[in-house]
């Protein structure tokens, strides 16, 4: 994969006079310069001058230093790296969608509105909840929207509730979101089964007692605005007492938010609305296969109960049916409903990451009710297969039933000085992207493996062989693993130095400028 030693920064390639873009000759009189003189653009700094072939080569070479989904298994737990169907890219690029304008009047955007309405209907059925907004741009934006709904709900009833409960296995965005929404966070400990502990837990090393769910409910009662829970949780385990958790929170007047990051383990199998969940988000870039794009864009729709519906971000898509004569097919007319007096307002400039919504609906329609269930079951079977094959080679500290992902740790290998990071980096040499590491924090040295449903048995077996081989190496040649990766474009990078003296942009050296 090593094409050449290094591709320099494009700025080091720039030669004045070159250009990679040209324009038609101006066909109207040149602009009159109306700018106040101090507001005129003087220069563009280091913006490079290069031709198209040079820029294409530059980016193509850079791309070769990335590991992508189409190269092999990408078992990043909780990130759901599944196949990105090419059809979804094609439908989102249809000019009718990609060239439509967010400020155009309703009558000119009937296709867009129908798409949003239809995807909302699919997600309502998938989640078993009453209403859906597609506005949030990503999972974290969905969380914030959901918690703002909870806040608005309580305030509308004249209640000023202060606390949001968050299990310690939660993704960091949960507590960060609760704080952003103006709440105080109360941690809930996990029990030995990996689920929220109802009982108090005594930390074995420090001897400190962490209050369990029952004590927290008793202590904070009516001051609890809600609870944020991931289900299945970040250990890939279904919260077996989710029904009790919901009814207890409801009993003290709180609401339950479900982080749907792991919804791909439930689609077509079980519905959060049936558990008693009041509001949740889904990550379309996980469950519905919209590509991760090297870190975005995502989409984080929020589904909620009837009680929370009035507070949804505005506008929402509504539909009226045109009157038609006998024997004619009824025609629908979609429109934006802005008249939402209780709405929390907008959470995105326009209506969300629309291009991602087109991809997600394409995915839903391709799978259908039967395909969605099949995909979920297969994701769970694949994770359980990996669990069954790697048991004994890696330590499984929590043995509750595995859903779509399994969390091992490094305790067997650590005896030989080989740690999770080493195992992860060694996997790179075997041609795989590493699993998620050191998360969830409730498992020390966690290796969180999520194969997804789109991996074949052959690919799973290759991955399992690599993991077993690394386990052997950890016993026999641990020093080899400490060197890893050796086949990647770069060796391990010094992240501490990067943070201590941050270099966050390129600057020309004096000689060059």
């Amino acid at each position: 994969m090593k094409l050449r030693s290094r591709e320099p920064l494009i700025f080091q390639r720039s030669v004045e006079g070159k250009a990679g873009m040209d324009l038609p000759k101006l066909d109207v009189p040149p602009a009159e310069d109306t700018r106040p003189s101090h507001l005129r653009r003087k220069d563009f700094g280091v913006l490079p001058s290069c031709s198209e072939p040079e820029i294409i080569r530059h980016f193509t070479r850079l791309s070769l230093w990335n590991y992508g989904m189409d190269q092999g298994m990408y078992p990043l737990g909780s990130c759901t790296m599944k196949h990105n169907p090419r059809l979804n890219e094609a439908t989102s690029a249809l000019p009718g969608f990609s060239e439509s304008h967010p400020m155009a009047s309703d009558e000119y955007i009937q296709g867009d509105l129908e798409l949003i309405y239809t995807l909302q209907e699919w997600l309502k059925e998938v989640t078993g909840l009453y209403a859906v907004t597609l506005q949030p741009s990503a999972g974290a934006a969905g969380e914030l929207t959901g918690v703002l709904l909870i806040r608005a709900y309580h305030l509308s009833r004249g209640h000023h509730k202060k606390y949001i409960l968050v299990p310690d296995s939660a993704h960091g965005t949960n507590p960060a979101t609760a704080t952003m929404a103006g709440f105080q966070v109360i941690d809930l400990p996990s029990g030995p089964d990996g689920c929220v502990s109802f009982e108090d837990i005594t930390d074995q090393t420090s001897g400190k007692v962490k209050r369990g769910f029952n004590s927290v409910i008793q202590e904070y009662g009516q001051d609890i605005a809600g609870l944020m829970i991931t289900n299945p949780n970040t250990l890939g385990i279904f919260e077996s007492r989710i029904g009790d958790i919901c009814s207890e929170i409801h009993r003290v007047g709180g609401l339950v938010y479900m982080d749907g990051a792991n919804m791909n383990a439930l689609v077509g199998v079980a519905r959060p609305g049936d558990f008693g969940i009041d509001v949740m988000h889904m990550n379309l870039h996980k469950t519905m296969s919209t590509p991760h794009g090297g870190g975005g864009p995502g989409a984080g729709p929020v589904a909620c109960s009837k009680d929370l519906e009035p507070f949804l971000p505005r506008p929402i898509v509504a539909r009226k049916t045109k009157k038609v004569g006998e024997g004619e097919v009824p025609e629908h007319l979609y429109y934006w409903d802005w008249n939402r007096p209780e709405s929390i307002g907008k959470v995105h400039t326009f209506f969300g990451n629309f291009g991602m919504l087109v991809r997600a609906l394409t995915y839903c329609m391709s799978h259908g009710s039967d395909g969605l269930r099949e995909a979920t079951l297969r994701a769970i079977v694949n994770a359980n297969y990996i669990r069954s094959q790697l048991m004994g080679f890696y330590h499984l500290s929590i043995t509750s039933p595995t859903m779509h992902e399994v969390v091992f740790n490094d305790s067997i290998q650590a005896k030989n000085g080989v740690h999770t990071l080493d195992i992860a980096k060694r996997l790179i040499d075997y041609g795989f992207h590493p699993p998620t590491v050191y998360f969830p924090m409730v498992v020390s040295g966690a290796l969180m493996i999520e194969p997804t449903e789109t991996e074949s048995k052959e690919e799973l077996d290759t991955f399992i062989d690599a993991m077993k081989s690394i386990a052997r190496e950890a016993l026999e040649t641990p020093e080899l693993i400490h060197q890893a990766p050796t086949t990647a474009p770069l060796r391990r990078l010094d992240e501490t130095a990067a943070a201590r003296k941050p270099i966050l942009r390129w600057l020309p050296t004096p000689a060059q400028s």
Partner: protein
């Protein structure tokens, strides 16, 4: 199902290895009362061809236009073919956030280049790897200013900000009861500096000014900066049309402490408003308060230069409830489109396109004003958008234009904005390098014809 590598033989092998009879047996962790007994009430799976047909049909329910004169936060610009072809590489679009730097150098180096270019376009020292969109960039900038300016709890917002940005700000501020959002009215299409001065006291953490503003007018950032800084507050420039940065001075060089906005114009389609590209650039002193991802340079074990995600001590996965923001992604692929676009354009292309935008908009405006029914509302310098008032039956006029394949400008009085009454019957027009003289003449022709029929 074409995406599932499933066969009866292999499936059986998997189940046997696990020690179960059927896939459903793996659901033992889910209480049986929650397990669905039947399929969801949704259509069954469809072939690729069927789905493509159906989606095509749906997309065609949108009206298609041959020329567009609508901007207002979403701009149609030229996109070289190379952009689409490059981002179609699986290495870019299928990969995850670059947590494993050894096999993500492509994404990391691209972001480092993007950050560098955005710093120079905005005239700031540090840029992050991007934010969701212009509205959320505004919100994150305002929240950041409040963090930097401890003890100050008020943010002043010019009414020249995009009304939707303002709404995102409002919903984000609603949960911070200690914070106040106060709007500063416009005077002749630009921020009223006397009002700004009167409101700027020692409780003000930051002032947000559109540059150019929603009405297309160029605000005098320098003057705003003087007033803001005299009160000890930070000036935040909000650029909803990043192409204007090819025409206007870098906001950071004329007074902005934080420069934020929307950069979808670089290489992205209007796509019904998303995914777009929020940007934020700040002075060096505030870098540890930046929201979102940041990439920095470092060395590997052998001393070779490489790039990593850095300053993570600000972020939610480390700080949890003490993080600067809950954000855990950027708009990776959209930032890539912008980076490729900007590199292709280079200084020559960016200046050229910006000049063409200004020229086309000025031409469109002068041609419209030759018609009897259009009149000037404000006289202020503008980039590629401007407002004119229409003295006629706009509803009917609009129908004629749409019939002629033209998407006209925006009726300002349809918006829920504080200046709504001053802009009755006013249209916000936009022209870019995509609008040919021929398109503009066609628009004028339809209008002239309509005026004759109705006079």
């Amino acid at each position: 199902m074409r995406y599932l590598p499933s066969s009866p033989y292999e499936d059986q092998q998997l189940l046997t290895a696990i020690g179960v009879k059927k896939a459903e047996d793996c659901l033992s962790g889910v209480p049986s009362k929650f397990l669905l007994k039947s399929l969801l009430n949704l259509p069954r799976q469809s072939s690729e061809l069927e789905v493509l047909r159906e989606m095509k049909q749906m997309s065609q329910k949108n009206t298609s236009f041959t020329s567009r004169f609508l901007g207002a936060g979403a701009y149609a610009h030229f996109i070289p073919t190379a952009v689409d072809m490059q981002v179609g590489r699986q290495e870019w679009f299928t990969s995850y956030t670059p947590y494993q730097p050894e096999i993500s150098q492509g994404t990391l180096q691209h972001i480092f280049e993007y950050q560098t270019i955005m710093c120079d376009l905005t005239g700031t020292d540090v840029s992050n790897a991007s934010l969701y969109d212009g509205g959320t960039a505004c919100l994150e900038s305002a929240l950041m200013a409040v963090r930097v300016q401890k003890k100050r709890n008020t943010v002043l917002v010019s009414e020249g900000l995009h009304p939707y940005y303002y709404e995102v700000l409002k919903s984000g501020f609603a949960s911070h009861e200690e914070l106040k959002l106060i709007s500063i009215p416009l005077d002749k299409g630009i921020t009223n500096l006397t009002d700004l001065k009167n409101r700027c006291d020692d409780t003000v953490a930051a002032v947000l000014i559109g540059y150019p503003n929603f009405l297309g007018n160029v605000e005098d950032l320098t003057a705003c900066g003087e007033i803001t800084h005299a009160a000890g507050a930070l000036l935040i420039s909000v650029t909803q049309e990043a192409m204007s940065l090819g025409w206007l001075a870098a906001p950071g060089s004329v007074g902005a402490d934080i420069a934020c906005g929307e950069a979808m114009s670089f290489g992205n389609r209007t796509s019904f408003g998303g995914p777009f590209l929020g940007f934020i650039g700040v002075r060096d002193a505030y870098k540890r308060e930046l929201p979102g991802r940041v990439v920095g340079e470092t060395k590997d074990l052998e001393g070779r230069t490489g790039y990593v995600l850095t300053l993570t001590a600000r972020e939610q996965h480390i700080r949890r409830d003490k993080a600067t923001s809950n954000i855990c992604s950027n708009q990776g692929l959209i930032a890539l489109r912008a980076n490729i676009w900007l590199q292709l354009a280079g200084p020559h292309g960016l200046r050229g396109i910006a000049e063409q935008n200004a020229a086309k908009a000025q031409y469109l405006r002068s041609r419209l004003l030759e018609l009897p029914c259009w009149e000037v509302v404000d006289e202020a310098p503008f980039f590629n958008e401007f407002v004119l008032r229409y003295n006629g039956d706009w509803t009917e006029m609009k129908k004629q234009l749409v019939r002629g394949g033209i998407l006209p400008g925006l009726e300002l009085d349809t918006l829920d904005a504080p200046w709504r009454n001053q802009y009755r019957k006013s249209i916000l027009w936009c022209a870019t390098e995509l609008n040919t003289r021929h398109q503009i003449e066609h628009l004028i022709e339809i209008m002239a014809r309509f005026a004759v029929v109705h006079s």
